[in-house]
């Protein structure tokens, strides 16, 4: 089987990154999640700089490996670095990303007192616990539709 390596341009790399999914929230690509800080392309290869969502995020190594794997098709050396140069904040999640989150019952990030139920949009919700199944999520309960749900922390 022969595969022609696609023309490596920053746009093509960005498009490819749009297919790399976050391992903890697999409805979001790393682009929708807003963690792609910079894509550099030169004779030495492709260098992607990403922003960790949480300092101790255990998914980071998986994300790094998925990015390197997806970009390997360009036939150039790939380097994935992380930086805190600008902090990742939850408002970096794209509108499409926010819709995708709501569709799987996870409230997109907003200040703790402004969280809405992703199922019925009620504001009558209570935080059960600031900490959920991953570092980036809190647990809530909707009093209107009596549904427990998760919300992304606003960091």
């Amino acid at each position: 089987m022969t595969q022609v390596a696609p023309e490596p341009t920053v746009e093509a790399v960005q498009r490819a990154l749009g297919e790399v999914l976050d391992p903890e929230l697999p409805v979001l690509s790393v682009v929708d999640l807003g963690i792609v800080h910079r894509v550099d392309l030169d004779a030495r290869g492709i260098r992607v700089t990403i922003l960790p969502t949480f300092v101790g995020c255990p998914a980071l190594d998986v994300i790094r490996a998925s990015i390197a794997d997806r970009l390997s098709g360009f036939g150039l050396p790939v380097q994935v670095d992380t930086t805190f140069e600008v902090p990742w904040t939850s408002d970096r999640i794209s509108p499409a990303g926010r819709r995708a989150l709501a569709a799987i019952g996870i409230a997109p990030p907003s200040e703790p007192d402004a969280v809405r139920c992703p199922f019925c949009a009620s504001a009558s919700v209570a935080m059960d616990s600031a900490f959920g199944p991953t570092q980036c999520r809190s647990l809530y309960y909707c009093r209107a539709c009596r549904q427990p749900f998760e919300a992304l922390k606003a960091v």
Partner: protein
């Protein structure tokens, strides 16, 4: 600071599987993950400037006497009230310290601190609610909280133990204000909260010169726990 985050993170992880509520089991595990992540990032910066191989070398390859965390964290896991009291005193101290480092002239530190502050907000929210819950529930919860605060009291301000190189840190624009000044601010904040909850005020630090040394038996045990894997196979990766 890295040792503080490492030791409290490891202590928090001791609740995994045995916390009083499922939500708290998850919360303590998540807090532990945050704090250990912070420690790893801080050790990473430290390793870069000191030429030490990596963060793990700093975290695992030292003798108990070489750790420089605050003695506030040296009282063993204790019961739930002890855990909440320790976390409350630590998180509020840490918040004051982080604020004084947020404009550090050393960019990598300032950038990291900017990120840490956003996560610590949730830690403060969590522990603040629990402090209030224990303090305002009469009987055993409040009694246990009072006992924990009495035990931690003499070491409560040790996060602000003066550093030998503090003048240099101030001069270089890394630390914005002297630790003694930060401690005064912290105590004023605590006093207001404690008054509202009718909790006794905190005593002054018992032995300020030893605020980050002489860690004692509880830490010796914790150290033997967290270095166990490393000692049994130094080349292990995980």
């Amino acid at each position: 600071m890295a040792d503080d985050e490492f030791v409290i993170g490891f202590s928090d992880s001791e609740w995994t599987g045995i916390a009083p509520l499922l939500e708290e089991d998850i919360a303590m595990s998540s807090l532990a993950q945050d704090e250990l992540g912070h420690a790893q990032a801080l050790y990473g910066l430290l390793a870069e400037v000191t030429g030490v191989a990596d963060a793990d070398t700093l975290a695992y390859d030292r003798e108990p006497a070489d750790y420089r965390h605050a003695r506030l964290l040296d009282h063993g896991r204790g019961d739930w009230a002890m855990t909440i009291a320790r976390r409350y005193l630590y998180e509020t101290s840490d918040a004051v310290r982080l604020a004084a480092l947020s404009d550090a002239s050393w960019r990598p530190l300032a950038e990291l601190v900017g990120k840490l502050v956003r996560e610590e907000r949730y830690h403060l929210m969590h522990v603040g609610l629990w402090l209030e819950r224990l303090a305002t529930t009469g009987g055993e919860p409040r009694d246990r909280l009072l006992a924990a605060l009495a035990t931690l009291g003499p070491d409560s301000g040790t996060v602000f133990t003066p550093l030998p190189d503090e003048p240099a840190l101030l001069k270089a624009g890394i630390l914005a204000r002297p630790l003694a000044e930060l401690e005064r601010d912290w105590r004023a904040g605590i006093a207001a909260t404690f008054q509202g909850l009718r909790l006794p005020s905190l005593p002054p630090t018992q032995d300020p010169a030893r605020g980050r040394t002489d860690h004692g038996a509880a830490f010796a045990w914790l150290h033997s726990e967290f270095t166990m894997v490393r000692r049994s196979d130094p080349a292990a990766t995980w």
